[in-house]
Subunit: 352 residues, 2 copies
């Protein structure tokens, strides 16, 4: 039976990407060697890296003011790196928008390096909306937000306007739609949703915002060191970068982010329509802030939760249990999720 | 034609490991899902992680005083983490033994956190020996050394004696022979030589040396946070951990580190014997400090270097060019290197 994988991350990737990655583990590009036994400085892998960077630049239309890096450590390391690279050593301040667990964690790490100002928060209603109409101080060194909230099922539809460098954790919606990269100081994303396997972290950073803090930065945490080393200051995560490159090729072949965004809108609309029309289910997120990536919903009769999960499992639908902090269910419908899998879930919901 | 892969890292792994890893990318453990699309918190992956940790403990005989972690960021991140976790905030000092590029880089990162004392150095002769007979101050917070030097082809045969926590970068000789882990405060190793693919970093840390610096440590850099999260404070490098687990299973099936050490001694002896007996080649490393992992050698007539490399290539021997800082040639003969590949290289050398 076909599996419908609604995992929040690491998550579904295109079947074609799995097949090519599997083959490269046995024989990479007819070299007679496995992808994972070759030097990261071999001409074959440098070509993979360069292609991955070029595809990110092309697909996201990254301006020449920005550099593209593939690092390690996930978004959690970027919480720390974005702060240490931007917050001034002497009296630095940073503004954070609190839309849930991940933005709270990001703000916590920034407190190691300066004053953190929470400029807006949706904590009052357990993060079921995106704050709007707040003021951002003009004397901050960065403004940070989380573009999509996997746990709470919310997503920024418009981005904060600010003169200070805008920093976004886009781990769970990068490559799901076009983004005007020129507006951002730093965009970072753990690869393991729409890009590739866990183990690589995409960072897009505007060069002219770096080197101004007056603080010593350890080499591995210093974007300028990583830029100079072209992500190879030390051994990069070869496999995760290779699979990301394969998936970027796939995105390009699909027609790019406008085509991908349209498909994502359609899939999300199907599922939200079922939730809104089906009297058994409810979604408490403000309609204008609903995530197109992570659709959260509850049964009105929560005593039937286990019954619903069993019905899903019987239909080959996996990983739709909601996060413990909101309960209920969560369907993560990233780029690679086929419409037929969304329909399979809707069919089970209709029977309820 | 069979390839003989002498790459210094990422490097050769057993063929059986490549085959199982390739299969798991298509269908992991009969789940109907790819290894790289499942949650790191799924019971299937948690079992993989637990098995990897248990095998490290069993194969290296790790005492219960120590914890085993699989992190990201390579040894270069451990340069920073070992220092920030051990050097006291107020007047801390650390002792470093300089045996080449990697130990120099480690010491550089420690300077961000306290005074660094170079207690011994082999820089006077371009690092062709391991220093001996030096004094280590008793009032330091850590003593750091690099157990095997991939570039210069040297290896510690006996380890420094110290009361302070002993910290070792064992990236290039871990799992090549038994080690008395109880003597160490921290052992760390990038996976990409004897353990697995690039993207995971093994850390073995003694619990009672942590939490004594009096400094704030960012979460991702804090060993206590990583221990509490069982390497899953954030999403771990799923694929790299899985392949490491496969290779650990392979090591155990081979009979463990005593058996592996004997094979490594035999392979290295074959190659050093050829170098010593063949009038065309020379090795300048002090005999008692020669590495069993990275065998460096030079042609007496360096004008024939290109000719030798061509002869190697023609015989399917790859990656024997020496590092630019020593020139000549380097044959990295990690655990997975078959004796027949070492013999293939010796055959080419004999013809010269």
């Amino acid at each position: 039976m076909k599996k419908h994988n609604f995992s929040a991350g690491p998550s579904i990737l295109p079947q074609e990407v799995f097949e090519k990655a599997s083959q490269a583990i046995l024989d990479f590009d007819n070299t007679g060697l496995s992808l994972i036994e070759i030097s990261h400085r071999s001409k074959e892998f440098v070509a993979v890296y360069n292609k991955a960077v070029a595809l990110v630049k092309e697909i996201l239309e990254v301006p020449s003011t920005h550099e593209v890096l593939f690092l390690q450590g996930g978004a959690s390391t970027q919480f720390l790196m974005s702060a240490i690279n931007l917050i001034k050593n002497d009296g630095g301040k940073a503004a954070y928008i609190n839309t849930g667990s991940w933005s709270t964690k990001a703000a916590k790490e920034a407190k190691n390096f300066g004053e953190v100002i929470e400029v807006a928060s949706s904590a009052d209603t357990n993060h079921n909306y995106i704050p709007k109409g707040y003021e951002i101080p003009t004397d901050v060194d960065l403004v940070h937000f989380t573009s999509n909230n996997t746990i709470f099922g919310t997503q920024f539809q418009a981005y904060p306007e600010t003169e200070a460098p805008l920093v976004a954790d886009m781990s769970s919606d990068i490559f799901s739609k076009p983004v005007d990269v020129s507006k951002f100081g730093i965009i970072y994303a753990g690869a393991q949703k729409n890009l590739g396997p866990a183990g690589a972290t995409l960072v897009i950073v505007k060069k002219d915002i770096l080197g101004n803090t007056g603080r010593a930065i350890p080499s591995m945490l210093d974007y300028q060191v990583q830029i100079k080393g072209e992500s190879m200051f030390n051994t990069p995560p070869v496999f995760a970068i290779y699979v990301s490159m394969l998936n970027l090729e796939y995105m390009k072949a699909q027609g790019g982010l406008k085509v991908i965004a349209k498909a994502n809108e359609e899939k999300a609309a199907m599922l939200y329509q079922e939730i809104d029309n089906n009297p058994s289910f409810v979604n408490h997120v403000a309609k204008e802030d609903r995530s197109l990536m992570n659709v959260v919903f509850l049964l009105n009769d929560t005593s039937r939760d286990a019954e619903f999960l069993d019905a899903c499992t019987a239909a080959g639908i996996s990983n739709v249990k909601g996060h413990r902090s909101v309960g209920g269910f969560r369907a993560s419908i990233y780029n690679a999720m086929p419409k037929e899998s969304v329909q399979a879930l809707i069919n089970i919901m209709k029977k309820f």
